[in-house]
């Protein structure tokens, strides 16, 4: 799988008349991991929310060559976009297995197969399918949130601050999982302020400041 999986062109987002993202263009190839580095409030979350369709924006977003700018969030997901939000937002009252199953858009058999796949990627989750999501630790919740995204078999992953609040060892295993997804052909766009976490996995780094791209890509590890 090659080619541009996600292409963001001239994207702008405004909140109450003030620009949160201004004229940002990014493209991510299939199998590539791109990292949006920026401080808290630089506009990473706004950008990712605009791409998934939860924040209104101008400019265009295309997915595997299809323009999805006019699509609803639900349709964008169905076309192959997955979003792992900041703070995980797993469904606390659903069990681990239910959190995963609910995110699948496939039929029953395929759903079960995908579930096993997530469990094999995250053995920590495999052991407790019937526990409620609120009982999990932060790291496990992050894995669950990523696993939930995997269930929909997306071609592009959007991750917002996946390392936030994670112990180093846990962050490491999350990073390894992301690498596996990329090597499987998925395009990954990560919004992150912790450069240390993404250093090992980023193919491309984009610096975001005050809603705009500031430095050329492929310049890694700036924030530390």
């Amino acid at each position: 799988m090659t080619g541009i999986a996600l292409h963001i062109r001239n994207l702008s987002v405004t909140h109450g008349g003030v620009a949160a993202i201004h004229d940002v263009s990014i493209s991510v190839l299939a199998g590539e991991t791109a990292v949006l580095l920026g401080a808290n409030g630089a506009g990473k979350s706004s950008l990712l929310r605009a791409v998934i369709g939860l924040a209104s924006s101008t400019g265009s977003v295309s997915l595997g060559g299809t323009d999805i700018s006019q699509c609803t969030t639900e349709d964008r997901v169905r076309l192959g976009l997955a979003w792992v939000p900041e703070g995980r937002r797993v469904f606390p009252g659903l069990t681990v297995a239910e959190n995963l199953l609910v995110a699948s858009l496939s039929r029953h058999a395929e759903r079960q197969r995908k579930l096993e796949e997530v469990f094999s990627l995250f053995p920590q989750l495999a052991g407790r399918p019937s526990d409620h999501a609120w009982q999990l630790s932060g790291g496990q919740q992050q894995m669950l949130a990523i696993g939930r995204a995997i269930m929909a078999k997306p071609m592009v992953y959007l991750l917002d601050e996946p390392s936030l609040g994670l112990a180093p060892a846990v962050a490491e295993s999350v990073a390894i999982a992301l690498q596996q997804l990329a090597s499987g052909g998925a395009a990954i766009l990560i919004g992150e302020q912790n450069a240390g976490f993404v250093r090992s996995i980023a193919d491309k780094t984009i610096m975001l400041r005050n809603g705009q791209i500031t430095t050329a890509p492929a310049d890694q590890g700036q924030l530390t």
Binding site: V18, A19, G138, G165, L166
Partner: protein, 563 residues
Amino acid sequence: MNARTSMSVAGGAALTIYALFFASSYDQRILTLSGIYVILVLGYQFIFGHAGALSLAQGAFFGVGAYTTGILGSKFGADFLLTFPLSIVVAATLAALVSLPVLRLKTHYFALATLALSQLLLLVAINWEPVTGGANGLPGVPPVTILDWKLTRGLPLLTFVWAIVGMAMVIAHMQMRAGRVAAFTVMRETPLAAPSFGIDSGMLRLRAFLLSAAFGGAAGALFVHTNRVVSPETLGFGVMITCLTMTVVGGRFGILGAVIGALLLTHLPEWFRGFDEYYLVAVGILLLAAVVFAPEGIVALIAPAKAPHENDKPSLHTQSKRASATKPSRLALEAIDLAKSYGGVRALDGVTLSFGPGEIVGVIGPNGAGKTTLANVLTGLTPVDQGTIRLGGRDITNTPAHIIARMGLARTFQTPQLPNALTVRDLVETTQRAHGMSPAADEALDLLTIRSIADARCDTLPHGLRRQVEIARAIATNPGILVLDEPAAGLSPDEQDEIAAICISLSASGMAILLIDHNIEFLSPCVSRLICMEAGRVIADGASDETLTNPDVRNAYFGVISS
């Protein structure tokens, strides 16, 4: 004169001409009833609109007023000058009695408690036949009688009722002068943070509840004089639903909304009489359309307002110079052995720290270390399980947050707590008023060089400016202690430098500052001391370099970044 005012004047004049010259006795009666409902809705706006609490007791206060007048009038022929004030007092007293257990309840739990109260009163009215006349009610309530002057129905009663409506409007207007509207807005939109602004939410809610009861009682009393009979219907859920509907359809704030809602809903069924047995279906359809097309009230549709409290056009100040900080009171904060658990998790576990005038103390620590809990506990928003906090030598442990704030401890929040509907100036001045100061926002705004946005609504501000507004709001009361929770998060390096410089200048004038952040680059240049927390404990407390080189700190805090 703005659009809304001129529209009100024109509408009022048209209505007066109609009432005086064109209205039949029947029209006059409907207008009289409308006026009574205006009073009821004006009262309901206090608790439901301004305080934002879904009270289902407004009908009960109406009924209590009605029965007070009804019983005294029909059994003793008592004078209006006695029964009317008494109806108000009895309703307000009832509100005061139930306020203690009921007002602390939230959202629908508050609604249910007020509903249960109303239903209990209804049961009493129906079943206490000797006094209330039971289900039949009491006939023979005299007309409004003042000394020997009996008010006849028709135009005299209409004029009298609307004169009282006018008085009610004046009282509502005086009660809801700009400053207090803003305080209510802060309480409603940022309920958790409001106490830290010095706002006594409990008192505000109580005031709103008592006012709503008093207005309800007055409306009930007039209603009984208009019908000359008091019956359990006045206490029934129907009155409450009517009142709620009028308020939502008309508008939750402001006199015009109350008038529109009351006039429309009393006239609507009368207009549709021609539909015979389907007339209420027609009323329902129009009501549905009204809510769907004007979900914020018709008043918002015909005269859109920026906020419940209107402002003139923002005046464009030029970027002003930074003012020098005035001298704050000199205070020291001391915390001894604080502990706080949330359902088994020890968020604070024996924290002891102190700092005093002129000091800037930084607090760092990984996520979940208890930094924000510390800020909440020190400022009184969260009660401690154990430990002592002293402010300027006085024990303030578990003192209400608004009192602590007024003693000179100000703070900002990790996520700026700005009420959407207020302008920056209103927010700052509301805080100053809550501290008993005369409102003067400019100085604090100048200090942050944000005077140019003084008249912008908070919800239009970008992130960086929101932080600056928070800080301006906090220092506008000249606090002795300032607690800043992640003031630099999300700011550009330039903006961060700006904040640091402000902190330094404030501390130079004697303010004690606790700076919670995890950005070392931001903290290092300005703090005199650095505290590091982990898992609810202080693991280091000393000069910046000392703390930063502490092996425990490196392990706990820099583990992630340097991995």
